[in-house]
């Protein structure tokens, strides 16, 4: 067994109206080469003009990653030739990025881990290439889309940790609203650096570029651990190189070795003056940060006694988590709200393919529905019926219970009659129960509920049943 050390570099496109250095439209799923600015094509004489919103979002994510925010941020040029790079250089940040020395707390199974973030910087995306049999086509709609690159320290030790980190990071970015961070749309892409060693020192670093899904990150890491372990077992050396992950056969292939590594000849971007960021502005952004998923999960487990699974489900989307928190703030039991969301509501949203903000049953109504149960006005079973009616007829729970005359039976005499009837009809079950088969009680209560058509209060039914059985 070897010590595995992994560092990640994540590129994430920011959600803005215009591009990072031009007024071209940030929307590359349109028809090819539309809504471009001359800047996006690198025509002679064009100049970059930095987008305020891209800056705000870069700082926002930096804050969410607990980074030190630079007061004087700078831009640099990374020089290389590639057909998708119209200017022949990419504007990025190498000397003074927006955020440095950050960290992100993640859950790996039951454990917590602090993942150190080296830096977060802002840069521009390249054009996209479509490949055909004997030619490729260039589309510049993506050229200049704002990208943040987040670089971790080499502090992850397994594919599981890497994936947990990526999932947490994606959620954090979504919570800030900086990006939808959808890897299936190429909005989030990942480079993986991995090294193996026998002791505490770091082994030889192998880099894997541009992996486009979390699943492939996992596969690539696991393949590399296997490949490198086998080499080390045989006493062979690991080459310092860049490898490419092939998602069809799930293997990695050598692209170039360290000796051929490209010298990008970074130097300060002369067209963008040093950007001073005032403390006040940073504070304003920090204050605007929502409570982040790690903290929420912790709170849901420790304060509300939810299972880790449910807590994780609730925080997956900020809007769902907000819905949950608002409903309980109205005075509902967290456990009940969680159950309603995870069992009924998420299923409904999924089936209807809608978002929670389009969901008819606002927090107030869910609170109303749960209160009806808690006040014993309706039973849980009736509540499910009310829920369906509410969504079907777009009416509040109270309106539905009133119109349809749905209520829990509170008539003790009536309930006692049903209990008597069930006892009469099930002499054998009663016998079993009396002979020690205690779980038969649930069956008997169930029968009572059935006869009452779900209107009976199950707790009361159980109470009466016990009284009779024990008399």
């Amino acid at each position: 067994m070897y010590n595995v050390t992994i560092g990640l570099e994540i590129h994430c496109e920011l959600k803005t109206n215009s591009k990072v250095f031009s007024t071209g439209k940030n929307e590359y799923n349109d028809e090819a080469n539309v809504n471009l600015s001359p800047v996006d094509l690198g025509f002679p004489g064009v100049l970059p003009v930095l987008n305020k919103e891209a800056v705000r979002k870069a700082i926002l994510v930096s804050c969410a990653l607990n980074s030190k925010i630079s007061n004087k941020t700078k831009f640099d040029r990374k020089n290389y030739f590639y057909p998708d790079l119209p200017k022949g250089y990419q504007i990025t940040q190498s000397r003074e990025p927006f955020g440095t020395n950050g960290y992100l707390m993640i859950h790996v199974g039951e454990k917590e881990k602090k993942v150190l973030i080296h830096d977060l910087h802002l840069e521009e995306d390249t054009a996209s290439l479509d490949h055909f049999n004997d030619y490729s086509l260039l589309n510049f709609n993506r050229a200049g889309v704002p990208l943040i690159e987040i670089v971790t320290e080499p502090c992850l030790n397994s594919s599981e940790e890497a994936i947990s980190f990526l999932e947490e990071l994606r959620n954090v970015i979504r919570y800030t609203g900086a990006s939808d961070a959808r890897s299936d749309r190429g909005e989030m892409r990942c480079d993986v650096n991995i090294s193996l060693s026998k002791d505490e020192t770091l082994g030889t670093k192998v880099e894997m570029k541009n992996i486009n899904s979390f699943y492939n990150v996992k596969e690539a890491i696991e393949y590399e651990i296997k490949r490198q372990s086998e080499l080390l077992d045989k006493g062979e050396k690991i080459l310092q190189e860049t490898r490419r992950f092939d998602s069809t056969d799930k293997k990695t292939y050598s692209m170039r070795s360290k000796v051929d590594s490209i010298d990008y000849k970074y130097f300060p971007e002369p067209n963008i003056p040093v950007l001073e960021i005032e403390e006040e502005y940073i504070k304003e952004i920090k204050d605007s940060l929502p409570k982040l998923p790690f903290e929420r999960v912790k709170e849901y487990i420790e304060k509300y006694n939810l299972s880790r699974k449910d807590a994780n489900t609730l925080v997956k989307e900020k809007e769902i988590s907000d819905y949950f928190e608002k409903t309980i703030s109205l005075g509902c039991s967290p456990k009940l709200v969680s159950n309603w969301i995870t069992t009924k509501i998420l299923g409904y949203l999924n089936k209807e393919n809608i978002k929670i903000n389009e969901f008819y049953l606002k927090e107030e109504y869910l609170h109303e529905l749960i209160s009806l149960i808690e006040n014993e006005e309706i039973t849980s079973q009736q509540a499910k019926e009310v829920f369906d009616y509410c969504l079907l007829e777009k009416k509040t729970p109270k309106e539905i219970t009133k119109e349809k005359n749905i209520k829990a039976s509170s008539n003790n005499e009536e309930l006692q009659n049903i209990v008597n009837k069930v006892i009469e009809e099930n002499p054998e079950v009663i016998n079993d129960y009396k002979n020690g088969k205690e779980r038969m009680l649930d069956y008997l209560v169930g029968q009572v509920m059935k006869y009452s058509k779900g209107t009976a209060n199950p707790i009361k039914a159980k109470e009466l049943m016990l009284k009779d059985l024990n008399s």
């Binding site: 001359p38 094509l41 690198g42 025509f43 002679p44 004489g45 064009v46 100049l47 970059p48 003009v49 930095l50 040029r77 020089n79 030739f81 057909p83 119209p86 200017k87 022949g88 250089y89 490729s136 260039l138 010298d263 000849k265 970074y266 130097f267 002369p270 067209n271 963008i272 003056p273």
Partner: protein, 462 residues
């Protein structure tokens, strides 16, 4: 001929007549001067009431003009039709000025001889056996030929001021950022400045007033200073303090002429004092300029690849296309500069070469600022001597250089406004004198230059 004289001629003969005459002369002199890459064959009459409305002008062929061929005098762009307007061109159009043509430059504005453009050598219209230098060669020549009262150039080291001086006209490099660079093909972005050439300081002021101002397309453009330079040039200069740098003036081949200029300044009530600057520092200007400008230009011109514009060479992979297009498109001189720039930026050289050059830049600017703490302006001969014979102009550096021939770069290092005006003639060829002031003091620079210009004209006529 200045703007006012052109105006008079237009009033007398009509715009069409004046435009056609300028076109005719320009074409006639293409053979011996070669000032233009493109000469326009039509114009649109403007109803603008600006001072330059319907006045013809020439534009260096490295300013983006939508729909009009713009080559930067390079084979790499010999067929390039821009699809957007530079801010400078847009403002001139809005003011109603009439574009006479796009002028020849040293390829991609690099080099200072006027000999490296893809359409051939530009010659000095005063004496076509002599150089006009560059890189704004054609713009200087056009004004000198009298086909337009002003022309636009770009100045990265001395590219407006030196040819203006050799052509015996006024050449102004304003403060860095005073005029938007949007649409000016970049040479070295931290040094590039739009410059104006004309036959008088007053005309330069008029055009600068029109071109200056904050531009949302250029982050380095300065906030508006809300001054009208044309109105400020007549201010009394009495009591202003000028300095000249002894180490630079020591190399002057025409000291008696410079002394005469100093006397004129004193007659105007200004004081002129000698200051000193470390000779070693001045000698470092050349290497620092080369290093910084080559580093930036290598990167700035990486967009010239044949993929999106410019001639596309053959190749079986995109890399081959880019490689062959660049091999065929750039001249040797340009390639040498690119290689130099790339070398100084290499990981292993960057500290020693590129960063040290930027440090020298700081030292020179600090030292210059010290002078500006005590003096209003620095006055120096623009060049060591009159325009050289063309056969002496070489674009290969291998010899000892002079600090006088490189001092104009200082204005670009610090972004200072700097202007050259014609002083006296020698052997029938003009000499120039330069005034440089602290950053953002464009009005003061023009004011001193205008007063001195008028004074020297007066003396000449006596």
């Amino acid at each position: 001929m200045n703007i006012e004289e052109f105006r008079k001629k237009i009033d007398e003969n009509g715009i069409k007549e004046v435009f056609n005459e300028s076109v005719k002369i320009s074409k006639e002199r293409q053979k011996d001067v070669n000032a233009f890459v493109t000469i326009m064959d039509s114009f649109e009459k403007s109803s603008s009431l600006s001072k330059i409305s319907n006045i013809p002008y020439a534009l260096k062929d490295n300013f983006s003009t939508k729909g009009i061929l713009t080559t930067a005098s390079s084979n790499m762009l010999k067929d390039y039709i821009p699809v957007y307007d530079s801010t400078v061109y847009k403002k001139l159009k809005e003011s109603g000025a009439i574009l006479l043509g796009k002028t020849t430059l040293d390829e991609l504005a690099m080099g200072g001889t006027g000999t490296t453009g893809h359409t051939g050598i530009v010659r000095n219209p005063i004496d076509t056996t002599r150089s006009i230098s560059g890189s704004s060669s054609g713009s200087a020549a056009a004004v000198r030929m009298g086909v337009c009262p002003f022309a636009i150039g770009s100045d990265t080291g001395d590219s407006v001021r030196k040819p203006a001086s050799y052509a015996g006209i006024v050449g102004f490099k304003p403060t860095y950022g005073r005029i938007s660079r949007f649409g000016l093909f970049a040479f070295a972005s931290s040094l590039d400045t739009v410059g104006i050439m004309a036959t008088s300081v007053k005309d330069v002021a008029i055009v600068t007033d029109i071109l200056k101002g904050k531009d949302e397309n250029d982050m380095t453009s300065l906030d508006n200073d809300d001054e009208i330079y044309e109105n400020l040039i007549e201010k009394d200069v009495k009591g202003l303090k000028l300095a000249y740098i002894e180490e630079i003036c020591d190399e002057d081949n025409n000291k008696e002429i410079f002394n005469k200029i100093i006397t004129s300044c004193e007659t105007l009530g200004m004081t002129v004092e000698k200051v000193n600057m470390d000779k070693k520092l001045l000698e470092a200007v050349f290497a620092a300029y080369r290093t910084i400008s080559c580093a930036e230009t290598t990167s700035n011109n990486a967009n010239l690849s044949g993929i999106l514009f410019g001639p596309r060479a053959k190749g079986s992979t995109p890399d081959e296309i880019i490689f062959n297009s660049r091999t065929e498109g750039f001249s040797e001189l340009i390639k040498r500069r690119f290689i130099m720039g790339s070398y100084v930026l290499r990981r292993e050289n960057q500290e020693k070469l590129y960063l040290n050059a930027c440090k020298i830049r700081r030292l020179i600017v600090d030292k210059t600022n010290e002078i500006f703490n005590k003096y209003d302006a620095i006055i120096l001969p623009t060049t060591k001597d009159i325009a050289p014979k063309l056969e002496q102009e070489k674009e290969i550096i291998n010899d000892k250089f002079s600090v006088l021939e490189n001092h104009l770069d200082i204005a670009n290092f610090g972004g200072y406004p700097s202007i050259t005006i014609p002083s006296f003639e020698k052997d029938g060829m003009p000499l120039g004198v330069s005034i440089m002031c602290n950053i953002k003091k464009d009005a003061l620079t023009l004011n001193i230059a205008h007063k001195l210009f008028e004074k020297l004209r007066g003396e000449e006529n006596v």
